[in-house]
């Protein structure tokens, strides 16, 4: 009987509290063992994990695919990370830690080598087309269109100091540059196709993986210039001004149409995802990859929700057969 006992029996003393905390701790740690044994339930439904890393340009698109797929398949856990195309290949995909790697440029030779060394095989799937957009401040009335050569002068290693050096008649003001960081596929694509040599880029710029930082910078100065994927500009057309690009055939503005028709050169670029062949052997990964390829022509999702150019039907069926071959091989 509690009432017959002295008071101290039922008082929550610090000692009791200490014991309680200790017990909770032990329970928590033991739960570790308990839960660790679970998993591996076989059911008719698709189930399993899918890990995706890579380009931050492709991230919104892959995120949208994953969200839509997840809506129909509760048992599949997808996670998506933004690591940059290079960072993803280097640290995640080729070491065999992820199932897909998104990239805003084709895989490089040294990355192929790394994957091969680790025994990771892959296929290349194009998922959309992007119009890499060069932007300036809304107040910058002096410039509407740049030729590829002028762009090169601004971004090459021995870059122009002032706008006047780029073209006669431009103001004699220093250029403020905001661009992609070196781990980014955007950086690789831009240097290769504008400057003409992969990795050749001026050092005199603010490097970032965050598009938002570029916009903030360009908004802050009349003489600033920056570049990033079309999606950001598509969703925020009023905050900065996109430049038209002249590749010899006159000025072409970046848009879903010009990128789709191939007029917007050289900055219209393919966006990729690289599934690992081994992962495609698992049914839930294969099903997700099929879903991605199937959705690449979906206007509402690719263009409407995210802001990239959907694939043409031809290109889609090409990707489809490439994927099916790989799945057959992996599961065969």
């Amino acid at each position: 009987m509690a009432s017959s006992q002295p008071d101290s029996t039922w008082r929550t003393s610090r000692r009791t509290a200490l014991a309680a905390i200790g017990t909770t701790g032990a329970l928590g740690l033991a739960g570790c063992i308990g839960l660790g044994q679970e998993g591996d339930e076989d059911g008719g439904e698709l189930s399993g994990d899918i890990n995706i890393a890579g380009s931050s340009t492709v991230y919104p698109l892959m995120f949208a695919f994953a969200e839509a797929f997840q809506g129909n398949h509760d048992g599949v856990n997808i996670d998506v990370s933004r690591t940059g195309s290079g960072g993803g290949f280097q640290n995640h995909f080729c070491p065999g830690k992820t199932d897909f790697n998104n990239a805003s440029r084709p895989i490089k030779d040294e990355e192929k080598q790394l994957c091969e060394d680790n025994g990771v095989e892959w296929i290349e799937l194009q998922v959309a087309t992007d119009a890499l957009t060069v932007v300036v401040n809304n107040e910058a009335d002096f410039v509407d269109c740049l030729t590829v050569d002028e762009l090169k002068q601004i971004w090459q290693p021995d870059a122009a100091e002032t706008w006047a050096e780029v073209r006669d008649g431009f103001p004699d003001e220093e250029i403020e540059r905001y661009g992609a960081a070196e781990t980014s596929g955007t950086f690789d694509y831009f240097t290769e196709n504008v400057v003409g040599e992969a990795g050749a880029h001026t050092d005199d710029y603010q490097a970032t993986e965050q598009d938002n930082t570029i916009v903030q910078g360009v908004q802050g100065s009349e003489y600033a210039i920056g570049y990033f994927g079309f999606s950001y500009y598509y969703n925020n057309p009023d905050v900065v001004k996109a430049l038209k690009i002249d590749d010899g055939d006159g000025c072409v503005e970046p848009s879903l149409e010009t990128a789709a028709s191939g007029e917007y050169t050289p900055l219209a670029r393919p966006l990729f995802t690289y599934p690992s062949t081994e992962s495609l052997g698992e049914e839930h990964v294969a099903e997700f990859a099929r879903y991605v390829v199937e959705q690449t022509t979906n206007e509402d999702l690719v263009a409407g929700d995210v802001g990239y150019v959907p694939l043409t039907d031809d290109l889609q069926s090409q990707m489809q057969s490439r994927l099916e071959d790989a799945i057959d091989q992996a599961q065969g």
């Binding site: 610090r14 890393a53 997808i78 598009d211």
Partner: protein, 586 residues
């Protein structure tokens, strides 16, 4: 010394002292004001107050805030305060309106704020906070604050339980409770009643065996029983038993049995009623348990007390005010804001559409990881601190080694979190193979990160235990282990807990180490176990801050920040409660 050279006190300059006073005032204001402005803007974005009409804000201030303030003013019973508060709340709208008009006339504007939002944050919030504080010094206010605190705390604790059971299998807990906790408790109770040392000694082994049996059985069995029933048996029943036993200390047996029965029946019956309002009974049960039991106890005590029972109407005032306010707003057709931070935000997964986006998987992930970090860093930190303080010699070779360790622990506290992330990546993820970005890796890495802080604060707490207590214990013939267990640790517990929980506050906001160990930016479902990959709130907020759509960068991010802050405040509030409880116990 000659008499002439005595210092003359009339000529002491006060300028320096005054200057320093104002400088330090200014220095403290800079930080506080900057933080307040940031929080105001975040709150405005998260709750979409910018699109709330002036009438909407004023209506709710009138129906919800004013009655509460009146109650607390009545409690404070200070005519001067009443006049000042009336002036601030009544004159505030006029002053804000005039100020904004004046500013507009001069061609300026305050970005993102309307005069009514300004009134809300510049007048209503500080005035209410001050009145709540002043009023809670009186008995009525104290009762009101106590009741509101128990309601809020009860809901928070209930939700925390719900989240914990999302990741910890309810079935495993039920088995562990039935096979481990229950027999152990029975043995301990028996040992106390009959003073049987055999039962006492058996208790721990029985508990451990029961627990192991539970983990083994859990893998073999699948219960096809509703989770609600598991909770009734393994959560509601023991809580009711505890409540009954507590009541038995103060009342006779029959009353105590009645109290226990009520503590069982009310939440169980109430949870079934939860279906009517669309809440799952199993969740309603947990929330009602943590809500009803302390609240009922408090109400009972307040009613028994001589004064202050009037304070019990505070929740009714708030609820009634909200209802009246809603009716007025609907009748008047005032445009209401559409807050980003709402129920669906905290219960749904991330989405590409900003209005559907939610933080649920990241919230569960963060809380899960933090719970593990709490357990790990408490055990490791206290262990190290006890060893360093009480088990090492001060002199000789071992003394030198201890000092070297001391210095290194202090230095480790200053190592940047990215470095801990690298350590976690190399050690836990790669070498020990615990997986890339999994719950285990994340919680071990974060535990290491805050371990130095935990050790140092635990050491301080242990050092603060007066030495004569230890000596007294030794003089009674106690061993070192008995002294540590019975004297030092209980004395130092409040300090240790405070230090640990404040350190957890740092861990929950960390992003860099999580990026390093490869924690995914986005997951669509909460972690299901220790090997699941997990995302955390700051990771998801960081990703949203760079989303192409502006709605993400403003509304959704702000809502995430507010959620993170609320969880953090709940953690720190718990720390303060625990500390106060054990400090007054001495």
């Amino acid at each position: 010394m000659s008499v002439e050279r005595r210092p003359s006190f009339e000529r002491v300059a006060r300028v320096k002292g005054t200057l320093l006073e104002y400088l330090s005032l200014g220095a403290s204001l800079v930080g506080i004001v900057a933080l307040a402005v940031l929080l105001v803007y975040v709150a405005v974005d998260a709750f979409d107050l910018a699109s709330a009409s002036h009438e909407w804000i004023l209506t709710y201030v009138g129906t919800v805030v004013v009655p509460l303030v009146a109650l607390f003013l009545y409690s404070a019973d200070d005519p001067g305060l009443t006049v000042r508060v009336t002036l601030a709340l009544g004159g505030g709208p006029i002053a804000s309106f005039m100020a904004f008009r004046l500013l507009a006339a001069m061609g300026g504007s305050v970005p993102g704020l309307t005069w009514s939002v300004f009134y809300l944050f510049a007048f209503v919030v500080p005035t209410t906070a001050y009145v709540l504080y002043a009023g809670s010094q009186g008995p009525i206010g104290a009762t009101a604050v106590g009741l509101l605190g128990r309601l809020l705390g009860g809901i928070a604790a209930g939700l925390a339980l719900v989240v914990l059971f999302v990741v910890f299998d309810p079935q495993l807990w039920t088995l562990a409770y039935t096979l481990g906790v229950l027999p152990t408790g029975a043995l301990v109770a028996f040992a106390r009643r009959r003073e049987s040392s055999l039962a006492n000694r058996l208790a721990l082994p029985v508990g451990i065996i029961g627990f192991l049996a539970a983990t083994v059985l859990d893998g073999l069995l699948v219960f096809y029983v509703r989770t609600w029933l598991l909770y009734v048996w393994s959560v509601a029943a023991p809580v009711a038993l505890g409540v009954g036993l507590l009541a038995a200390r103060e009342r006779d047996r029959r009353e105590a049995a009645l109290v226990g029965a009520l503590a069982f029946a009310v939440p169980v019956a109430g949870s079934l009623a939860g279906t009517l309002v669309g809440v799952a009974p199993r969740h309603a049960l947990l929330v009602l348990l943590t809500l009803a039991v302390p609240t009922a106890r408090f109400v009972r005590r307040a009613l028994d007390a001589d004064e202050g029972a009037l304070g019990l109407v505070a929740p009714l005032l708030l609820a009634g005010g909200a209802v009246v306010g809603t009716l007025v707003v609907q009748a008047g057709g005032f445009p209401a804001p559409d807050p980003w931070l709402d129920w669906s935000y905290v219960t749904s997964a991330p989405s590409r559409h900003p209005e559907q986006a939610g933080l649920y998987p990241a919230i569960v992930g963060s809380i899960f990881v933090i719970c593990l970090v709490a357990v790990l860093s408490f055990v490791l930190g206290v262990g190290t601190a006890v060893f360093l303080e009480d088990y090492t010699a001060d002199e000789g070779l071992s003394g030198t080694i201890t000092r070297v360790i001391q210095v290194n622990v202090a230095n480790l506290a200053a190592v940047p979190s990215v470095v801990y992330g690298l350590l976690g990546l190399g050690l836990f993820a790669n070498m020990l193979g615990m997986g890339f970005g999994t719950v285990t890796t994340a919680s071990l890495t974060l535990s290491l990160l805050i371990l130095p802080i935990t050790i140092i604060s635990a050491q301080e707490a242990i050092r603060a235990v007066p030495d004569h207590l230890r000596q007294g214990s030794y003089a009674m013939g106690a061993t070192r282990w008995q002294t540590t267990k019975n004297v030092v640790l209980p004395e130092a517990l409040p300090g240790i807990l405070t230090g640990t929980i404040l350190a957890l506050g740092r861990a929950i906001g960390e992003t860099a180490p999580l990026i390093m160990i490869g924690a995914p930016t986005t997951v669509f479902s909460p972690p299901e176990g220790f090997a699941s990959r997990v995302s955390a709130m700051p990771m998801q907020i960081y990703a949203w801050a760079d989303a192409p759509q502006p709605e993400f960068r403003y509304g959704v991010v702000a809502a995430g920040v507010v959620t993170l802050l609320v969880v953090l405040l709940a953690l720190n509030g718990t720390a303060i409660l625990i500390r106060n409880r054990y400090e007054t116990e001495v």
